[in-house]
Symmetry: C2
Subunit: 347 residues, 2 copies
């Protein structure tokens, strides 16, 4: 089609060019470059040398067509610039890189819009050997599509019906955070929970709320509806929640449990601005151990999305390598990290 450039040696040099130059057949070149057995050391060396000189790189389309494998796995994410997801992507990439797979990124871009394209149409199917879906709210329709995909699939960070998933025990992690506050002596604890749109399948926020309520009830503490704030996991929503909480007349909580570090930091920044001292006047605890948490001194329950995604990816790849049953659910560790935003309540 396009004229082949001969100089230098990149562009369209095919296996046939290498075979010709090395005086062997394409079959032998194929074996040699892939490191397969049944090639004599001498020919192998010769071929590799010629291939290198010519700048030969196998066409992924051609080998994909021949083998039925694309050597790339898809990563589905609702955002890439939020902490959890960007870390998870990095983790997945580490494993893929190490095992010579490519990573194809599918960004769903929040709710609504033209999301469905991904699932039904040209994208996902037939381009990837396996799919890693990162924690997010899925519509039932999207779920259905996912279910009928016949490639290895695993989800990280959120429970999706009937799919293998990896993530922390959100109930336990949240309980730990709330218990930390109670042990410090707090009785008036506010809740800043995450998104909970009911038409979407996304358990994480629900579970964290539930844990909060259970632990509070278990400790004989009251939860006040007016201290139950809502956020969407962003810093901004944390700021707004703080403002609403403090604008409201009546008593103030001495502590606040935030369902994510980004929201917790929003609360902290806004508290500072309002002259509310953390932790003297208000204790704040989050979940995640965000990159900024240490710098801010945020007490939190840490998790490692990169390691979760790395493990999930490993399972996917193992399954592709023939290890049936390699893909399976697992619970990832979490850990309370006490820093400087929690303290006993003012006396």
């Amino acid at each position: 089609m396009a004229e082949r450039s001969q100089r230098g040696g990149h562009s369209g040099v095919s296996i046939e060019d290498v075979a010709a130059a090395a005086g062997v057949s394409t079959a032998t070149v194929s074996r040699a470059v892939r490191g397969l057995p049944r090639v004599s050391p001498a020919t192998r060396e010769k071929i590799l040398e010629v291939a290198g000189a010519l700048g030969y790189v196998a066409s992924s389309s051609a080998s994909g067509l021949a083998t039925g494998r694309t050597k790339t796995i898809g990563v589905l994410a609702p955002f890439v610039s939020r902490w959890f997801f960007s870390k998870a992507i990095e983790g997945a990439d580490r494993e893929l890189h190490a095992r010579h797979y490519n990573l194809s990124l599918f960004n769903l871009g929040g709710h609504g819009s033209n999301r469905e394209r991904l699932f039904s149409k040209t994208m996902v199917y037939k381009q990837i050997d396996a799919l890693l879906v990162l924690c997010m709210a899925l519509t039932t329709d999207e779920l259905e599509h996912l279910q009928k995909i016949d490639i290895p699939l695993i989800v990280v960070g959120g429970h999706v019906e009937e799919c293998a998933y990896i993530g922390i025990d959100d109930y336990a992690a949240s309980s730990t955070a709330v218990r930390h506050l109670i042990e410090l002596g707090h009785r008036d604890i506010a809740l800043l929970h995450g998104d909970d749109e009911t038409d979407l399948n996304f358990d994480v926020p629900r579970v964290r709320i539930l844990a909060f309520k259970d632990v509070m009830a278990g400790a004989g503490l009251a939860t006040r509806p007016e201290w139950d704030e809502w956020g969407d996991f962003t810093v901004r929503s944390g700021q707004e929640a703080f403002r609403r909480l403090w604008a409201r007349p009546g008593p103030k909580p001495t502590a606040i449990f935030c369902a994510s570090d980004e929201m917790a930091m929003g609360v902290i920044f806004e508290a500072a601005r309002a002259g509310v001292r953390v932790p003297e006047d208000l204790s704040v605890v989050g979940i995640d151990d965000h990159d900024f948490a240490d710098a801010v001194g945020l007490t939190t329950v840490g998790q490692r999305p990169d390691e979760q995604a790395e493990l999930a990816t490993k399972m996917l790849l193992d399954e592709l390598d023939g290890m049936v049953g390699a893909v399976q659910s697992a619970v990832a560790p979490h850990e309370l990290i006490v820093r400087r935003t929690t303290a006993p309540p003012p006396s």
Copy 2:
């Protein structure tokens, strides 16, 4: 190879299956599903219906092999979890998504290690139709590889010799930030500059330093070597720089110009911890307009990596669509955003 599942209809249904079921040739199916002309409305409808029922999706390997296009572009990034890069990736994705291209992510993962694999080996070549490289330090060896790639290429956020690139005018942006400080009345201004490993090709830090020195000199202000701190664009390095600055005996600056928001925030967090008030005792200005900048009240020179990458991607795709000369350098806008971390120096 694997047995074809007939039920439901996903998996390996080929164009031939659709052709047979619709009673037409594969060529017609090909035209129909791609929305090409020269297909009667009736047959087209019939084919689309059959294809839908069978769950037909074209094999990207096969069409890639036939057309020589993979319909995916590669995005090369040194990190994915840092603000600039994650935003840029989102921007690139928007354009790619809109134009039905896939995004293949290549994470170089910092310096050293096994980076070179990407350039020389199986990855980049032959798997993508164009390459978007995100601002980073490249070794001369890597540059050389890039140079000889014969696919459309553009870099975002940093100047790379002989390549089209899109990014802000770093000199002007830095000058703006420093001038803002000077106009506020500051004379004792410290510099927190970024990485500057000399074996790598990465102009951004150098240019920002240069601008700082030029503007200071232009205003007749002295720059002190002991107020020249170094960081690597992370929050942590900003914290450490502040600590070093304040631990040193002698006079303290009244303002600090940071080459990135993340470092600026590190300075702010650490200053708060040390009881140094911002902006009363110390003014801080950054560059970027990071997601957290507004919440923290950080004065900064904003830029939009997502829009830069989106534009760059558009150029790449236009070039692939036959618009020769579509890929060309462009300078992206920046804007001073005055918030609450800068004020006149203490009198």
